[in-house]
């Protein structure tokens, strides 16, 4: 996908906001492509996990009526990595889902760089706050 074909408007405008909005836009295009690659990679990993999982458990009964919560293999990062090493299909699926959760977090982290390049301290601060909340959710809540 050509990144540099973004519509650069050449119409008369209030000169005030022009250079800023273009810089923002270029950063956004790069981040948008980053997000899509992350999603496609995670979908591929989930699909791979699905093949392993279904080849082993296809004919067992499906039952999600009663909530038991996942075993620690599937709800902590070390547990997921361990079950991937053991070649378990559901471990691969969880790894793909972890990557999926990480893509928007990566976007926020890269936005900090973008705002820093624009020397926008206020938005570097705002973005750091958002990143802190996201990291707290992922690591502070015991994953």
């Amino acid at each position: 996908m050509p990144v540099d074909q973004a519509p650069v408007p050449e119409v008369k405008q209030p000169a005030r906001s022009q250079p800023r909005s273009w810089d923002d836009h270029r950063i956004e295009v790069i981040l948008g492509n980053l997000l899509r690659s992350g999603v496609m990679l995670s979908a591929a990993i989930v699909l791979w996990g699905a093949c392993i999982y279904l080849s082993r458990h296809a004919h067992e009964p499906a039952d999600y009526r009663i909530f038991r919560g996942e075993p620690s293999d599937f709800r902590t990062i070390p547990g997921v990595i361990q079950s991937v090493i053991n070649g378990r299909g559901r471990g691969w699926i969880q790894l793909g889902l972890l990557l999926l959760i990480a893509t928007p977090i990566a976007r926020v982290a890269f936005s900090i760089v973008g705002f820093a390049l624009e020397r926008d301290r206020m938005y570097v601060t705002f973005t750091l706050i958002v990143l802190a909340i996201l990291l707290f959710s992922l690591f502070g809540s015991g994953v």
């Binding site: 997000l35 999600y64 938005y123 015991g142």
Partner: protein, 278 residues
């Protein structure tokens, strides 16, 4: 049902939900949780976990396409994400505390509200408003490509938009939905951001908001790999297809059908929640 049959049926249903959600702009996640709980008898906590994951997939997957059009405003998005992520974290912790029947009732109410909102006519495009001092200080004003060239806009009512966004985040974390409807409401109606800018910026924010509660859900064991797999792949496939055919499709009658589906599911969720069946 065997795991193979269950996976196949859930994948097809998720695909259709993702397709309709993207064609109508109402989002697919909002119908998935009721469908899974009412028709597949999935515990609402597993359904919420799977739906939340699919919400991240659709938001991030569509981001590249939206960005190229140049409508979204990264500063509005980032500033409001402070409110939505904080709300989402709170919502996710609340979700682990309150009974599932209460979750079902709140979910039903949100569905009914979304159905109502989707039928409400949108006010015509607003005139250019005077700049608001707070919005100017926060550098929220911007411009977007319109028919007659670049059109600039001035953002209004920042505090009320910020509070609404906190609510949108809390709902997202509580119910595992994108709550795009509330996000658009906050930007479009309260902050007077042009509709196209609101919808595309909201799409961007949805993924970040959902990521804030996903960690909590994962660590509490709400994200089941066997269920999340067909839901995530189905919704992602459906929404990607939807964004390709969006230009040609006649969405008006589709929107009506989909909002009737949402209305029906909302009543079902209310009934099941109030009578303690969920």
């Amino acid at each position: 049902m065997t795991i193979l049959e269950f996976t196949a049926v859930v994948a097809v249903v998720s695909f259709v939900a993702g397709l309709l959600g993207s064609l109508t702009g109402l989002g697919g996640g909002v119908v998935l949780v009721p469908l899974l709980t009412i028709f597949f008898h999935v515990d609402i906590r597993y359904a919420i976990g799977a739906s939340l994951v699919s919400v991240i997939a659709t938001s991030s997957g569509a981001a590249a396409a939206y960005v190229r059009e140049g409508f979204s405003n990264i500063r509005i998005g980032m500033f409001l994400e402070i409110a939505t992520t904080f709300g989402a974290l709170l919502g996710a912790f609340l979700a682990t505390r309150i009974p599932t029947s209460a979750l079902a009732v709140i979910f039903g109410a949100v569905l009914l509200y979304s159905a109502y909102l989707s039928r409400k006519p949108r006010p015509p495009a607003q005139r250019i408003l005077p700049p608001d001092p707070l919005a100017t200080r926060l550098k929220l004003n911007g411009s977007f490509p319109d028919l007659g060239g670049e059109r600039s806009y001035n953002v209004q009512n920042v505090p009320s938009g910020f509070s609404l966004m906190f609510g949108a985040g809390a709902l997202s974390g509580l119910l595992g939905i994108g709550s795009g409807a509330v996000k658009v409401l906050a930007m479009d109606q309260a902050m007077r951001v042009p509709f196209k800018v609101s919808t595309t910026t909201s799409n961007f924010m949805i993924g970040v908001t959902a990521a804030a509660s996903a960690g909590v859900y994962l660590s509490r064991g709400y994200v089941d790999p066997g269920l999340s797999m067909p839901v995530m792949l189905g919704v992602l496939g459906g929404s990607l297809l939807g964004s390709r055919i969006l230009v040609k499709a006649e969405t008006k009658s589709l929107r009506l059908v989909f909002s009737l589906v949402i209305l029906f599911l909302g009543l079902q969720m209310l009934y099941n929640g109030l009578w303690g069946k969920i």
